[in-house]
Homo-oligomer: 219 residues x 4
DNA sequence: GATGAATGAGGTTTCATTCAT
DNA sequence: GATGAATGAAACCTCATTCAT
């Protein structure tokens, strides 16, 4: 699913070590950002030499992307679980929103990595990353919505792709609001409540209300 | 409205020079990102010496924030124009959406600066920035929605602050989708169309439909 | 003839393996130069482990010198063939020049290795290398010229050693001109013709003319 | 004459400093070779900061080439002095040979730099360097020989360009023999005498004899 | 006010060599 | 004999910031 950005030697490393490196890497990249993350620090914290680090990953960028892929894979698996059910769209939406809220803090660092790439300035790299990261999710949303359209579960005058796009915008913003410093503060400015203290159910129910009319055609 | 991040000497500079410095700074920060932007290059392109630059701004960060404030001021003024009318909320929303679409590319660099700060990793700075940038906008949305609620123009069971939050999430995502490389590609993945070739009216009308039921109570 | 620069283990390796290692080594050193050649890459391309490489050669330098010796041996054998005949000196010279032209490209990599050591910066090593590489050839030239002198085939007022030196300078320069990038370009600058397209016979005959008066005494 | 490989800032530096940097650079590159030369060491010995070094030269390569050009310029000027006279070719040759012997040790480091580039492995760079370094010299030789040919001062059946090429090969080899460790040892192996103790006049006269018949047509 | 030369810490990356298995 | 994972010193280069003029 993802383009391999590590060297063969990394595959041969023990699971424990692979785990450790990515964990430490994710922590470093999430807390300092790509530019300020220090590969020597990651190696030191992962308790391997810098030379070995470069036996595993050709460049800092490759290490970063591999960390990112690991985080994205985990998030994608969670989404998969929900989307493969044959619940009605509104039910799926509710589940997705709730899962987003619940898991965002647990996987805060993964989402910070995701946030990190949204400001990629190199068009080529931005395109490649978006392709890797967004394709899978977008397909799931678009397919589900198209099915719902076919069953007339949603307004017929909505374009399923734009619909999916708007929906994911809301979810993505929510993810960031739970995890990234700037967005967390923004959340508080809008709602008046710190996101850690906000009643999750309220967010879920309000967001559902916000979007439900689009879903519940002629009801 | 914004905390002053430049030195007195900058105020005393000619308008033309102030203009040029910020313009060049915005271009550099927008195209390379904060970390990769080079303050010596900005000075050179603005045709002033690096020494003078440091007479105007104490640090690279101060220059960046001043550039950001300039961009945000311009975007905020445009929003002000719309929000101060006494149109119905749905009308305002339509105007805001359309303005967002229309102006995003024209002011692409401002939005890129905005995008840049959303991945600020220092909590202290992130809070300060969010406070500066989001307060004004959020107030306008919240006030408008509260007024609409009072007039029963929107569903009564919606929390106005969360409502404003969701709404702004959609608009913010749209802005980024028009301007930032990653989000532009993401837009194309979702919609199948490059954002530059997408029919603007379609985006406006679809987004309006997506949110209108929340607005148009008792229909 | 050459100082042994490999470990005993290398002798015990199969001929095929020895062959392969030196071949790959010569290719790497010739194409990248000593400093930029990578011994790990040589091991990989020779399909042996780096550990085994160090069982065969104590250092990178030893591997290089062994590659060099192999190349030099081959070149020396070719020269031997010519010099051991009892042709007149001018005939020998013609044969040597022609052979130099003909074989230079075939054995380009050997000559590149030779060229590589001419810029050795460590005096100790430079002396040792020169001793190894030049002794055999120089003896052949000096002996042949001394014999010709005894037979009055060449001008009697020429110092046979300097004569041999000048002669080899011409041949050495010609070798480099056929093989090393810089010297190839220099050849083209002087002659106006790319060395690959230059008529070999013209080079042979012109060079013979250039030196012949020294050879053909009493004309 | 040479492509500029330094930044404008270098031109603005004091002559003393420019002198110092190139001197130190030439010494470092000549004694250690390009790869092993250390830019930080050059900066330290030239008593400037490494940052400033990079304000003067964009890369290590640029610094090297600038050092090289400086050396080549000096050698070329010396040659110019000789070639612009209207001496007969044989007289010029004698002067050139003598000058080569005399000056080689004085300017040993320049010649070591020249030697350094003859093993350039990147074809593109090799071509560019050869073009810069050889064009001027080769023109002088070729022109002088062509004039001599016109005056029937040399054998009419010699190609002036090849003639110039062979001649320069002898001079180049001689230069290296006076300066570069490997070639110095080679000189001793051929002649039996250390080049520093060799009677210069003997070298001059023997080399003249070696080439004179080509020059002195029908005498 | 204005200049721009100067600094130097710090980060990424390479690769010869070792050694436990 | 054979492997290849592991090491870590060291080199090139960048750039925010200072300060003498």
């Amino acid at each position: 699913m993802f383009e391999k950005r590590y060297k063969d030697a990394f595959e041969r490393a023990s699971d424990e070590r692979k785990e450790r490196i990515l964990e430490v890497g994710i922590e470093e990249f999430a807390s300092k950002g790509y530019e300020n993350a220090n590969i020597n620090v990651i190696a030191k914290n992962a308790e391997i030499s810098i030379g070995l680090m470069y036996k595993y990953f050709a460049t800092k960028e490759d290490l970063f992307v591999t960390c990112l892929q690991r985080g994205m894979q985990i998030l994608d698996d969670a989404l998969d679980e929900i989307m493969k059910s044959d619940d009605k769209l509104l039910i799926k939406a509710e589940k997705v929103i709730r899962t987003t809220c619940t898991h965002s803090k647990k996987n805060a660092n993964y989402i910070k990595l995701y946030n990190e790439i949204t400001s990629e300035k190199n068009d080529e790299r931005a395109r490649a990353l978006a392709e890797e990261i967004e394709s899978s999710t977008s397909k799931k949303y678009i397919t589900s919505i198209a099915q719902a359209l076919a069953k007339a579960d949603v307004r017929g005058d909505l374009d399923p792709r734009l619909f999916a796009f708007f929906l994911d915008n809301l979810l993505m913003s929510l993810q960031f609001s739970y995890t990234c410093d700037y967005y967390r503060q923004r959340f508080e400015i809008y709602t008046g409540v710190n996101v850690d203290e906000m009643d999750e159910e309220k967010v879920v129910s309000q967001l559902l209300k916000f979007i439900e009319s689009a879903f519940t055609f002629e009801k």
